[in-house]
Amino acid sequence: MNTYVFDSSTKSKLIKAFLVGLVLFIIGVAIHWNDGKQVNTHTENTTAVAAAHGSAVEHHEATAEGHHVQPTLKTLIVANTYNVFYFGFYIALAALFFLAATNVAWGGWHIQIQKIPLAISVNIALFLFLLIIMFIFFNHDIFHWTHEELFVKGSPTYDKVLDIKSDFLNLKTFWVFTIIITLLCLGMAYKWWNTLNLMDTNPTRKLFSTSRVIGGITIVVIAFIINTFATWFWSMSIQPHWYSTMFTWNTMAGASLMLLAVVLLFIHYLKSKGYLPNVNENHKHDVAKLMFAISIFWCYTWFAQYMLIWYSNLPEETEYFRLRRSIDNYGILFHLSFILNFVMPFLILLSRGAKRNDKVTIVASIIVIVGQFSEFFLMNCPALLPKGGYGIISFGLLFMIGSVFVYLTLTMLSKVKDLASTTHPYVKESYNHHI
């Protein structure tokens, strides 16, 4: 019983989850059908959208006093869809990082569960594909800085700040880095999948050292190339006047937090189906402990970014939090995200007994996933949807894409020959793991 069989009852449950998501999405579309249609009759639609998500203070003030700008239905759907794809990409990227970090550190405890992040990391291909499709077809809807008229000197739409930034922030560098990131991600995912699966059938010393070498390379590549430029180009540039050096850290910390929650749920699922016989509460304790620790790290970066910007009080920086913290737009969600991502996991997982209790860790994982989804929404969408847009459409898309994600992950798990990596040289350490 060492090979996972993707049974039909699970499949039908996932299809039901997808349909639930689809129904939620359709209900959301029906509710928001007339959004943004009664306004802006005198201006062209694209410039209205551009003005609405332009994050320069003067843009914002101008639109706010002129008329009550509501985002159009298209913007609502595009922003939410893009956010879900970006969210999925980051789970897969964090899975690669988890594999790399544990292998480089000569980790032993995770050997039995390392096929779960391995299967999750394959999702990176799907989400990169979807993201690139979004970039090709909806570039102007997502990225304000892609509009040509911003760079025409002397015109009323000329934006000096973006013109200065355009040496770096232009479509050419954007696509170059998108392609570099895509190739690196695909290469690393392929290499990890190959190495760890070859180790099941043919465990040689060479493969073992290969896994450590690519682990080291993966960490450096993720830290200095993928994570940095992916957050800069794909997320931070949605609000192009704003910048923060903590943003990249914060995204990766959040993604790792979410990955551990997802891995914990997969362990519970596989255990409930009778797989992974030698995984016990000690391994789950370790995953929960990492989740607890990274929740604190996430809070550290989140707070550092928030407090430094609050304290220095520079207009181009405070714009980010002005949009998110004001109570009539995202204020409730902003503070709720802090509670869901830090306060609740911290208090729930504080004691040793809680980390070893299945029900408690499942509840904590679900809280963390919802919290991180809200957090990613807060990173990406408020610049596009300044008057709010987190709701039924977001969750419909989360259910739809989430069930596709789980379906693909379980399909990849069923392709793995040895689910618990019983031939890995360190597997004995994992069996005897005791804390």
Partner: protein, 176 residues
């Protein structure tokens, strides 16, 4: 020194034998006072049935004290004692208080727990250490059984026999 206690000591030279001995002796119904090892033996504290420490609970209270002291002190100074305008920030700016409060919490918890730990281990400057057997700091393992008035020679003989049967290389009585 009048407050010496008498111990029956069993010396072992292997941690595996020690673990088995601990399980068997406790299974036979004898209470082990303590074990001394040159390095941490994994799972020994569970085998000995020692109570888990309450030091972390003390740490929570020390930390909470630190949080309260820091918050009330900064708030008192900034609002009542010496209100100052820093770039138009509110005097009760909770965000600005957080780093100092955090540091103060950690400081109080760390110092408080260190002092409590030394107190619980009965260690303080100038204290003469009570060492059961100096070889336990190097390569041997010791199990001790406290001998008070209720323990007669029959008990001593029974435990000594059991220790030897379990593989103790030496069994002796010592007063420290």
């Amino acid at each position: 020194m009048s407050d010496t206690k008498k111990y029956l000591v069993g010396i072992f030279d292997d941690d595996d034998i020690l673990m088995h001995a601990v399980k068997d002796i406790r299974g036979a119904g004898y209470e082990i006072t303590d074990a001394f090892t040159p390095f941490p033996v994994h799972g020994l504290e569970h085998a000995l049935g020692l109570e888990s420490t309450r030091l972390h609970t003390a740490g929570l209270f020390f930390g909470a004290t630190g949080t309260t002291v820091a918050l009330s002190m900064i708030a008192f100074i900034n609002i009542f004692n010496f209100p100052t305008d820093f770039g138009g920030k509110p005097n009760f700016g909770l965000l600005a208080y957080v780093p100092i409060t955090f540091e103060q919490t950690v400081l109080y918890a760390a110092i408080g727990m260190t002092v409590s730990f030394y107190y619980l281990c009965k260690l303080w400057p100038g204290k003469t250490p009570k060492i059961i057997d100096e070889r336990t700091t190097d390569h041997l393992f010791a199990l001790t059984f406290e001998l008070d008035e209720s323990k007669d020679s029959e008990y001593v003989n029974a435990v000594s026999e059991l220790l030897k049967k379990e593989g103790a290389i030496e069994v002796y009585q010592k007063e420290v």
